[in-house]
């Protein structure tokens, strides 16, 4: 405490002008590094901070003739319209429920897969398991939805199985009731292997002596997983969970867009696809920019909240 005060007192003693001139000299010496950064920084300003400037149309009535700056302010009118609309409930419900189910059902699966992989003693079998489960990650969304369509079509293998057991074929892809199951199930299929890599790496980093000690104490393998493996990867789990929460509202919407049709819209209409269809296809820029902003703000608030909570409870956090 005292040393910190002493340091604080010492700082003004060093004359600010000399410090800043040293900083300038340092910067001048490294001018070519700034030259390298010129293009990337300009790009970040234009393509990441530029849209932030454009975001003001969320509070304006954008007209192309007047431009972003010249359009007139309307305050929170667009937000008001969104919350008064008859579809707001459906959009929010679908977005939140898909996200929540993903987080509770899909999130733990890569962890389980990594634990299974960690318990396999045969190295070659383990390699096979990993290589095969990583594979779907490299298939494009269009192809995944294409596979779903042929697989779940009335003449596809799943429906043949249904018929074999005496059921009648189900039009899975055109059913609102099945939409969320199919969406989340195929996400798991595509991503569980890839997402398990980080956990596998974390498990490999656990000190083997901990396992030995647990074994000496007579812990069964299940107990060793519970008391050694899991605690060893908790920090990684927490970080990934926080990152996921930071994107809570934007749920793989490129895939939802491909799976969406008039018959399953009841379950597949989410905020981000609504922004696309109403904003880009119908040209209601200001209105959908406002909805997009609402989405981003919720994401950011959730991220800040969860990060703070995690720092308090587990001492692991993003910053």
């Amino acid at each position: 405490m005292r040393s910190a005060q002493a340091r604080a007192a010492a700082v003004p003693a060093c004359s600010p002008s000399r410090r800043s001139s040293r900083l300038l000299r340092q910067m001048a010496k490294r001018y070519d590094l700034y030259l390298m950064l010129l293009l990337p920084i300009a790009w970040y300003l234009l393509f990441h901070y530029g849209p932030l400037y454009g975001l003001q149309i969320a509070f304006k009535n954008f007209s192309p003739a007047k431009g972003i700056f010249g359009s007139e302010w309307v305050g929170f009118e667009h937000f008001q319209r969104f919350f008064d609309s008859y579809y707001v409930k459906r959009l929010l419900w679908n977005t939140l429920s898909i996200s929540l189910i993903s987080m509770t059902v899909a999130f733990p699966i890569p962890i389980l897969l990594a634990l299974v992989s960690n318990e396999i003693r045969s190295r070659s079998f383990n390699k096979w398991l990993q290589n095969i489960t990583f594979m779907p990650h490299f298939v494009s969304v269009v192809v995944v939805v294409g596979i779903l369509t042929v697989f779940l079509s009335p003449t596809g293998p799943i429906n043949k199985l249904v018929e074999a057991f005496g059921g009648t074929p189900v039009r899975f892809m055109e059913s609102a009731g099945w939409f969320k199951t199919i969406f989340i199930g195929s996400n798991i299929w595509q991503n569980m292997g890839w997402q398990s890599i980080i956990y596998i790496a974390a498990l490999a980093g656990i000190n083997p002596q901990l396992y030995e000690a647990a074994k000496m104490d007579g812990a069964s393998r299940l107990r060793r997983i519970w008391h050694v493996s899991l605690p060893g990867i908790v920090p990684v789990i927490v970080i990934l969970l926080i990152l996921d929460v930071g994107h809570f509202m934007d749920i793989g919407f490129e895939k939802i867009l491909l799976m969406q049709n008039n018959l399953n819209l009841e379950a597949s209409d989410v905020i981000s696809t609504f922004v696309y269809t109403t904003g880009i296809q119908k040209g209601e820029y200001s209105y959908t920019a406002a909805i997009g902003l609402f989405n981003s703000v919720i994401n950011l608030l959730l991220l800040l909240l969860v990060n703070r909570f995690a720092r308090k409870v587990s001492e692991t956090s993003l910053w």
């Binding site: 490294r30 849209p51 095969i132 494009s140 939805v145 003449t155 299940l222 922004v275 696309y276 904003g279």
Partner: protein, 297 residues
């Protein structure tokens, strides 16, 4: 007493092993089956696929579907476009990412913390779809390939991975020594840093290239001219929108419907082939990339 405990442990281990291997086998089967089914169906007689005869292995082997795709001009154009977009896009990605990651990895660069904060923020808060779309439109990039390349010139996650690599694997002393010898930063980057960073450069090429190859959404919003469609958009038309347009016009209606089904399987294979062929060769690089990324930057 000790003996029985040991015996218990052994039996406990065996049962546990069986369980673990059983779960792993089920996972492998579930992941692999859809892929194998698509491959088999693409080589089968369309009528037998529709009847549900095909379970695992091709029935009534036929390459008619592939022949049809090879005659489809849109698929060829899409393929060509995607190759161009992937090559040009990945080149831009690589240059921009190196130019950003290297200076930001230098501990002696004043202001790098602030810059990193400004860059990292963009991962969690951005203008969103509409303002970005309007910007790209105002820049006159709609209906040009630049709309697919420039707005995605840097993936911030990749930038952080690369910066972490520079910081952790290239000794700072080496760079300082080069400075002492009067080596400029550009030469340092070109003749010392980049040659030492081949593994991470390979990972970046893979990440970016697969990203370009597989992406469809940017093309969906920025590309209207069909002649400029990338493969994934052509694929979307064939798989999800039109039912039988992909098939030659000179076959009967019934055959056309049948063929349209099997063309779907074949086109999935044709579009994913480059990635799958490359996959076994580069798989470990991908994994390495994720590992580096997981070191908190």
């Amino acid at each position: 007493m000790a003996k029985t405990a040991a015996a218990n442990r052994v039996s406990d281990g065996k049962g546990f092993d069986i369980l673990v291997y059983a779960i792993a086998a089920i996972v492998i089967a579930v992941v692999l089956y859809p892929l194998l089914f698509v491959v088999s169906a693409s080589f089968s007689d369309p009528a037998r696929v529709l009847n549900g005869d095909v379970w695992l292995l091709p029935k009534g082997v036929s390459t008619e579907a592939y022949a049809n795709i090879l005659r489809n001009r849109e698929v060829w154009t899409g393929y060509g476009n995607t190759i161009v977009y992937t090559a040009a896009g990945t080149t831009v990605n690589l240059i921009m990412t190196v130019l950003a990651a290297y200076p930001l990895s230098r501990p002696d660069l004043p202001g790098r913390k602030l810059l990193m904060v400004l860059i990292t923020i963009t991962m969690f808060f951005n203008g969103g779809l509409i303002p970005t779309y309007m910007l790209v439109k105002d820049l006159g990039m709609v209906d040009t390939m630049w709309a697919l390349i420039i707005p995605n010139a840097i993936a911030t996650y990749n930038l952080i991975v690369m910066r972490t690599y520079f910081q952790t694997t290239i000794p700072w002393e080496l760079q300082e020594a080069a400075h002492m010898d009067g080596c400029s930063n550009w030469r340092l980057l070109r003749s010392i840093i980049l040659p030492l960073s081949k593994p991470i450069l390979a990972v970046m090429v893979l990440f970016y290239a697969v990203g370009h190859w597989n992406s469809y959404f940017n093309a969906l919003i920025y590309i209207r001219k069909e002649a400029l469609y990338p493969l994934q958009l052509v694929l979307r038309e064939i798989l999800l929108i039109s039912q039988s347009d992909a098939v030659d016009a000179n076959v009967g209606l019934e055959d056309k419907v049948l063929l349209a089904e099997s063309v779907k399987y074949a086109v999935i294979i044709v579009a994913s082939l480059p990635v799958w062929v490359m996959y076994p060769l580069v798989q470990r690089h991908f994994v390495k990339g994720v590992m580096i990324g997981s070191i908190k930057g």
